[in-house]
């Protein structure tokens, strides 16, 4: 009996085999072929979901499995719009229904807990083990909780949110802003470089100011920055002077901006120049690659993942590609757009590698809009290519919205910011 099987079970197996879900069985018979056509992706954000969609779009014969514990992924892009009252959480929630149903991605709602790069397996929290031919790791960021004395994950969930992974953190910061009195003081404390979304804290200050100007005009925003300068600085400062004169103050690291300590009970932070109190305090801690990247030995001493910029394959573990905020991508910023661009390059490269062909040299792009006011948008663009020193910005390309851009230009960029969100989210999750 143990060597025999009923016709009914046999048919079941055959059907599931054709559907591709029994490839593990085939793998034991002819591992090379079965494994080669199977890609597992860890993380369903801008990088991982884009890679999943484009692998299936460019070669539907590849079995693509996406591992993501969250049923709804709230995007960091446009979460500042929620803080400013311009979007709802529902507007920034992306799901995996279309990837699963229309594009044939096998989406598993589970958490990856281990990678064995030699056996080419991924272990999930539920104990399930997935085999892969190639693995894409797109884990985003993790916070260095111990970098600021007194700060902790627990404090971020109660009094001092980071709101730098969207979701319940965004809701908490939004509620605090809505509960704050007119004349209140908001502290925003961004980290040093490198970190996710370099213009993010400054768009955040802008859109919180947009809300406060209308509802609580006596309030102030103070940015206590670890850095000496920041992304799109001239454009942001000009926008603040134009729309929110006197409301936003920015202090650089050496002039009392760098915080070393926080006190949740006193609602204060300590800088080299003294103690600053806030009614709402947003701490954006220093960052490193997402946890699974550390656990799998994909990070170097910097806390980020070194990759071969041609294919985004890890230089530490062959067969594993790391994309998005977690990887070291030369001149590219850590942004959702960059992650999706890298996801597409990794997808196209993996297809070529499966075919035994040389991957085409990569070309990458970043485009980030920041909203300062409803009719006031600015942007940074970059086109990137491979040089002997790694990924560089193509000389003479890209750059910022011109400082002398007129009102029509800024209004068009504000509209394009909205169009950007619609298309990038549709292109990845739609």
């Amino acid at each position: 009996m143990s060597h025999r099987i009923s016709r009914r079970d046999f048919n079941k197996l055959l059907v599931s085999g054709v559907a591709g879900s029994a490839l593990g069985l085939f793998g034991t018979i002819k591992p090379a072929f079965a494994a080669q056509n199977r890609v597992v992706i860890i993380g369903g954000g801008f990088g991982g979901a884009a890679a999943a969609k484009y692998l299936k779009k460019l070669d539907p014969s590849i079995a693509v499995t996406l591992v993501e514990p969250k049923a709804t992924f709230y995007t960091c892009p446009f979460s500042n719009w929620v803080l400013g009252g311009l979007r709802t959480m529902q507007d920034i929630g992306q799901t995996y229904t279309v990837l699963r149903n229309r594009h044939g991605v096998n989406v598993i709602a589970d958490k990856a807990t281990g990678i064995d790069a030699v056996k080419r397996t991924v272990t999930l929290k539920t104990g399930r083990v997935l085999n892969y031919g190639r693995l894409i790791v797109s884990p985003g960021i993790d916070f260095k909780w111990s970098a600021i004395e007194g700060y902790s994950e627990a404090l971020s969930n109660t009094k001092m949110p980071h709101a730098y992974q969207a979701g319940s953190q965004t809701i908490l910061l939004h509620k605090q802003l809505m509960a704050m009195k007119n004349g209140g003081r908001v502290l925003i404390c961004p980290p040093g470089n490198p970190f996710r979304c370099p213009p993010g804290p400054y768009e955040r200050a802008s859109l919180i100011a947009h809300y406060l100007k209308a509802k609580k005009p006596k309030s102030k925003i103070i940015i206590l920055d670890a850095k000496e300068k920041f992304s799109k600085q001239g454009l942001f400062k000009k926008g603040w002077d134009t729309l929110y004169p006197g409301m936003i103050e920015w202090r650089s690291g050496p002039t009392g901006g760098k915080i070393s300590k926080v006190d949740g009970r006193a609602m204060s932070v300590t800088t080299d120049f003294g103690v600053e109190k806030g009614d709402v305090i947003n701490i954006i801690p220093p960052q490193q690659a997402g946890k699974i990247a550390f656990d799998a030995g994909l990070t170097d001493a910097s806390g980020w993942c070194p990759i071969n910029p041609n294919t985004f394959e890890s230089t530490l573990h062959p067969g594993v590609h790391v994309i998005g905020d977690a990887c070291i991508a030369g001149a590219m910023p850590k942004s959702g757009f960059a992650a999706s661009s890298q996801g597409k390059v990794a997808a196209a490269s993996i297809i070529r590698l499966f075919q035994g062909k040389e991957p085409a040299p990569p070309s990458l792009v970043n485009t980030c809009y920041s909203l300062i006011g409803t009719d006031y948008g600015i942007s940074v663009a970059g086109v990137y290519s491979l040089s002997p020193t790694g990924i560089i910005e193509v000389p003479g390309s890209g750059g910022l919205t011109p400082m002398d851009a007129d009102a029509d230009h800024l209004r068009e960029e504000a509209m394009f910011a909205d169009g950007w969100y619609k298309n990038i989210s549709q292109d990845i999750w739609g």
Binding site: A22, A381, A405, N423
Partner: protein, 118 residues
């Protein structure tokens, strides 16, 4: 009715071979892979454009669509953005990132990917 493990494995092999063959056929018939096969460098250069302009250039927002445009139209538009002959807020900054040869490859990719969808 029962069958042996051996016939099961044979059947699995057959079904797997069929799966493989079917998959190969669908990959070849797939418009995106067909375009990529002919123009792999053009594909790599073009994929990022979709983030702002929509998948295959089919925009769902205020940013212009270019789905359905000919390679000639796209090449002229990109070169005019690059030279500044055509006004833009951000396209000029992007177009300056590509050589004229690369612009031709991008125009060929997006100018043909929709024709393969017909």
């Amino acid at each position: 009715m029962q069958v042996s493990i051996r016939s099961l494995l044979t059947a699995c092999f057959v079904s797997f071979a069929l799966l493989g063959a079917g998959a190969d056929a669908s990959a070849a018939a797939n418009p995106a892979s067909k375009t990529a096969e002919a123009n792999p460098r053009g594909q790599i250069l073009s994929l990022s454009c979709a983030s702002c302009h929509g998948t295959d250039g089919k925009s769902v927002g205020v940013i212009p669509s270019f789905y359905g445009k000919t390679p000639e139209y796209l090449e002229t538009a990109l070169k005019d953005f690059k030279s500044g002959k055509r006004y833009s807020t951000v396209m000029g900054r992007h177009a300056k990132g590509y050589s004229d040869e690369e612009i031709t490859l991008i125009a060929q990719y997006f100018g043909t990917v929709w024709q393969n969808n017909k």
